[in-house]
């Protein structure tokens, strides 16, 4: 068989088997490979002695080259059996070419089958091993992730519980066990639906739960309370998730619980603090206000309500002399006594300082509340032991009892407050029942008196100025400063409404100081505007002020602060201020005189002053009481006229200037002028006016007489009865 014949055979062989097996080579390489096999076939066929192993090896090599397709074998054997015998040419002697090829094909087939079987088994072995390895790896990965999950479950700082769809708890991590105080064993005896209910659960809690286990939702989150094994309560942030099986059907539930009890306690604490007085643990003003609001918000019907307003008597003394610690202890003791008297029935609140209230709901009548107030009086008066001190404290109580329909929370509180002041005024250590029919003005006096100082601070007071004119030419010489109270409730009040109260309560000192300072500021303004021609300012001084040790320095400071010459300030005193044996006021007066301030004796003629004694006093002026002006209006003014003339003469003898007050008519003006009065004051010249209006008058520089009242707009002084 020539080389060319062998090549042609290999080409046809390749043609026959191409595509029947996957071999990773192209056709050219394939043909070359088959040419090699062809040569070996020819050699084996023509060997002197047939060696079956050669044929077998060719079969084995075919498999090794991945000619593993059965069609490859069929095509190969058919080609060899059919065509090789004819191509072998001259066979060695004794060799039957056809028989040899048959033997060759048989041994190739055997070798191929054996090799293919080996190869298949090897590959199967390999793939099963790979399968096993893959499974083992997956199992290891699963074990690792399960271990991870377990670690997470065990170490989590959050409680984790697992339950089936019936609610039977199957697992609980250590944190959950700690949170609830159950062991795992105990947990597995519990059921979510039967054992984990809290009476305060909203119905929605268990509706939502139902939706979850039915597969209608995949998770929910809420705050929920539980009972621990010891019966105590725990607040949790609960998240429950539904876990589904591969088919998507609900399989079990996982609950995550975070202990938020601490947060809730804090919340409750804050809420408590918002409504309670930290010292006494009583309700605070806020809570009292809200409780009253609630009482009045409900339909009034026939309901009645009572309120006791308490203020300890002399508490300030305790605080000042024994210290705040003792004061606090006292307050705590009083608070506990009040609570004891009232029990759970009535709300006891501390309104601040040493003020307490008791709210009595649905009273049967005044007697009920009065009885309670009496009981409280008795309870408070019991001596209180604080450290080494045994304190006796009393209280004043204002009691109000009214139909809900006829009042409101604000009025109720105010009425009780006012009534309490009345109890103080009546001598303390008592209770006073509010009486609507009692003179309202009396009640309001207490209000005014009690609130005056705060009103000074709030700027409710203001000053008006009434001109003082020279009677000779009616030129503006000065102004008298007159204090007013723009009361938020009663309107503008004149001094006659409150100065007396201020004197009683002592707040006249602060008020007087304020008026002095205010008037001097204004004097400064005028001084800046009008120079030496500016009007002087005359300010009233209450008797009580003369007893203030700092009065002289205070006035000196005010003058300094405003850079005023002392003579631009006149001080008006009443005779009353100088009555008595005390030399104090006189000393003060002398000092003021020396300071250079001018001093006027106000309202002269109404008192009992011994005229000759006037010469002892360091005075500059006399202001004749308004009653003289009224006298001059009488049908027979001659007597009055002569008295005034005598007074004026006397004053002039003492070198005092005389001012006539209350001049309202030109006739009065004429009379005073005739008897030699120097200065006049009254509505004929101008009523008390705001500072700006005084500016206007001054700028007009015309005589003050004949100015009509309506030329000067001024704030109406409320004439509401006090």
């Amino acid at each position: 068989m020539t080389y060319g014949e062998q090549e042609e055979f290999a080409r046809r062989w390749a043609e026959a088997i191409v595509g029947t097996s996957y071999v990773p080579i192209g056709r050219r390489v394939l043909t070359k490979h088959l040419l090699g096999l062809t040569r070996r076939l020819v050699e084996a066929a023509l060997a002197v002695e047939f060696v079956p192993a050669l044929g077998r090896q060719i079969g084995v090599d075919m498999v090794a080259a991945h000619f593993t397709g059965t069609e490859t074998l069929r095509e190969t054997l058919a080609l060899i059996a059919e065509e090789l015998p004819g191509l072998l040419g001259s066979a060695p002697p004794g060799v039957d070419a056809a028989g040899r090829v048959a033997q060759l094909v048989a041994s190739m087939a055997a070798g191929y089958a054996g090799a293919l079987r080996e190869r298949s088994l090897d590959e199967q072995d390999a793939i099963y091993r790979a399968g096993l390895r893959a499974r083992r790896q997956a199992e290891q990965a699963l074990a690792a992730s399960e271990a991870k999950f377990r670690a997470m479950f065990t170490e989590a700082a959050i409680g984790i519980g697992i339950a089936d769809l019936d609610g039977n708890i199957t697992d609980a991590n250590p944190e959950l066990q700690r949170m609830f105080g159950y062991t795992l064993e105990e947990f597995t005896q519990l059921n979510v639906v039967r054992s984990m209910i809290h009476p305060d659960d909203a119905p929605s809690v268990w509706e939502t739960y139902g939706e979850l286990v039915r597969g209608e939702r995949d998770h929910f989150r809420m705050e929920k309370r539980y009972y621990r094994s010891d019966g105590s309560e725990i607040w949790t942030q609960l998240t429950v998730s539904l876990v589904r099986d591969e088919a998507g059907a609900p399989a079990y539930q996982v609950a995550l619980l975070q202990d938020i009890s601490e947060r809730h306690r804090l919340q409750e604490k804050l809420e408590y603090q918002a409504y309670h007085d930290p010292l006494t643990a009583l309700a605070n003003r806020q809570m009292v206000t809200e409780r009253l609001g609630k009482i009045f918000a409900a339909p009034a019907g026939q309901r009645r309500v009572g309120l006791c307003f308490l203020d300890l008597d002399g508490f300030k003394v305790v605080n000042d002399s024994l210290g705040h610690d003792v004061g606090d202890q006292l307050l705590k003791t009083v608070a506990s006594r009040l609570t004891r008297c009232c029990g759970e029935e009535h709300l006891v609140g501390r309104m601040g300082g040493d003020e307490f209230v008791i709210v009595v709901e649905d009273t049967g009548g005044k007697a009920d509340v009065a009885a309670l107030a009496d009981e409280v009086l008795a309870a408070v008066v019991e001596p209180v032991r604080v450290g080494d001190h045994e304190l006796s404290v009393t209280t004043s109580i204002g009691v109000v009892e009214q139909a809900v329909a006829e009042t409101n929370p604000e009025d109720l509180l105010q009425a009780a407050d006012i009534t309490m002041y009345q109890a103080k005024h009546n001598g303390k250590a008592r209770c006073v029942m509010y009486d609507r029919n009692r003179n309202d003005s009396e009640v309001r006096r207490f209000t005014l008196s009690a609130t005056m100082l705060a009103a000074v601070e709030r700027g409710e007071f203001f000053v008006e100025y009434q001109p003082l004119a020279a009677l000779a030419d009616r030129a503006l010489l000065g102004v008298e400063a007159l204090v007013r109270w723009r009361h938020p409730r009663f309107g503008v009040l004149g001094p006659e409404r409150f100065v007396g109260l201020a004197a009683e309560s002592g707040s006249i000192v602060q008020l007087g100081h304020w008026v002095l300072a205010r008037a001097c500021q204004q004097a400064r303004v005028w001084r800046d505007a009008f120079g030496d021609a500016a009007p002087f300012v005359s300010v009233n001084l209450a008797p009580r002020q003369l007893h203030e040790p700092t009065l002289v320095t205070d006035i000196g400071k005010i003058l300094d602060d405003n850079q005023l010459h002392p003579s631009s300030l006149h001080l008006e005193l009443t005779e009353q201020a100088l009555i008595g044996d005390e030399t104090g006021p006189l000393t003060v007066l002398t000092k003021l005189h020396r300071l250079g301030v001018r001093i006027a004796l106000d309202d002269f003629g109404t008192g009992y002053w011994n005229l000759p004694d006037l010469r002892r006093l360091p005075l500059h002026e006399l202001k004749l009481a308004g009653s003289f002006a009224v006298g001059l209006q009488s049908p027979c003014p001659v007597v009055d006229q002569r008295i005034v003339a005598a007074l004026v003469d006397l004053a002039h003898a003492l070198e005092l200037t005389v001012t006539a007050e209350g001049i309202e008519t030109p006739a009065q003006l004429e009379h005073f002028r005739e008897v030699g009065c120097d200065v006049g004051q009254g509505s004929l010249f101008a009523p008390p006016s705001a500072a700006e209006q005084i500016d206007a008058l001054f700028r007009a520089a015309s005589p003050l007489c004949g100015i009509r009242r309506e030329d000067i707009s001024r704030e109406d002084i409320s004439r509401e009865a006090l």
Binding site: Y22, G26, R27, L121, E123, I127, A134
Partner: protein, 268 residues
């Protein structure tokens, strides 16, 4: 009640796997009964399938040789399947002994088997991952050991993308890979298509769907669109045997019988 379990993956040998069915087509025995059953049925329906698979393997071989000639020495073969004769690392390392190859397959058995075969080859390894999980592929220590993403790379998605349904947005996946490939890198794709044999496509697709490996055959244009952003290496998208054949003799008279397309793209 069972504790939560993180499943055994696709380790059910009762379930045919595309990788092992493919091995059946190529005459291998790295497969189980379930795989052979599917393969037999597929071939009954479509007798040319083994030829098509061989043509696909031949394309793979030619493409790797081509890439080595272009100077590519590292390869990422995704969906590598059961290793068989003419694997990427064999072809590449014959042409350039220091070529590095990382195989990726989702089938744990294929991965285990490949790893056993590759145990002695320090320049080739395999990672089990999904095509879409690029992080799992590139952040894997095996990948970091073998691949240098600062250098051009040959990425092979041979007979791979037709297992990615439209819903998974294969074009987007390919684009993500493109972004990690430096200029000068190549993407090799072969893809099943109904063009050429529309009569066969339907039943075949149905068979794979029932076997749990849905197949999405695509048209030439759709395949070309997947390589958006790459410059197509001539001859572009062609039937498998027509992509740069070694010799004219290797090209069948009816290349359309090989109902799959081959294409290679270069990242510029």
């Amino acid at each position: 009640m069972e504790k939560p379990s993180w499943g055994l993956g696709d380790l059910d040998i009762e379930q045919p796997s595309p990788a092992r069915v493919y091995d059946c087509y190529l005459g291998g025995c790295h497969n189980f009964v379930a795989d052979r059953r599917v393969a037999r049925r597929a071939v009954d329906l479509w007798p040319e399938l083994p030829l098509i698979m061989q043509a696909n393997r031949a394309f793979l071989r030619r493409s790797v040789r081509y890439l080595v000639r272009q100077g590519i020495t590292q390869f990422l073969d995704i969906g590598s399947g059961i290793p068989t004769e003419g694997n990427v690392h064999e072809v590449a390392q014959v042409a350039s002994p220091l070529s590095r190859v990382l195989y990726v397959d989702i089938d744990p058995v294929a991965v285990a088997h490949s790893r056993a075969l590759l145990a002695r080859n320090p320049l080739a390894d395999i990672v089990q991952a999904d095509l879409r999980d690029m992080e799992a592929i590139f952040d894997n220590p095996r990948a970091r050991r073998l691949l240098d993403l600062d250098q051009p790379i040959g990425v092979l998605m041979v007979a791979m993308l037709h297992f990615v349904p439209d819903e998974a947005d294969p074009a987007h996946i390919v684009a993500q890979y493109r972004k990690t490939m430096v200029p000068g890198s190549y993407l090799v794709v072969s893809h099943a298509s109904h063009e050429g044999r529309p009569d066969q496509a339907g039943p075949h697709t149905e068979l794979y769907r029932r076997a749990g490996a849905p197949l999405r055959m695509r048209s030439r244009l759709e395949i070309e669109a997947l390589l958006d952003g790459f410059d197509l290496v001539p001859p572009g998208v062609v039937f498998l045997p027509l992509w740069r054949p070694d010799s004219p003799a290797d090209v069948d008279d009816h290349p359309e019988r090989f109902t799959g397309f081959a294409v290679m793209g270069r990242r510029e």
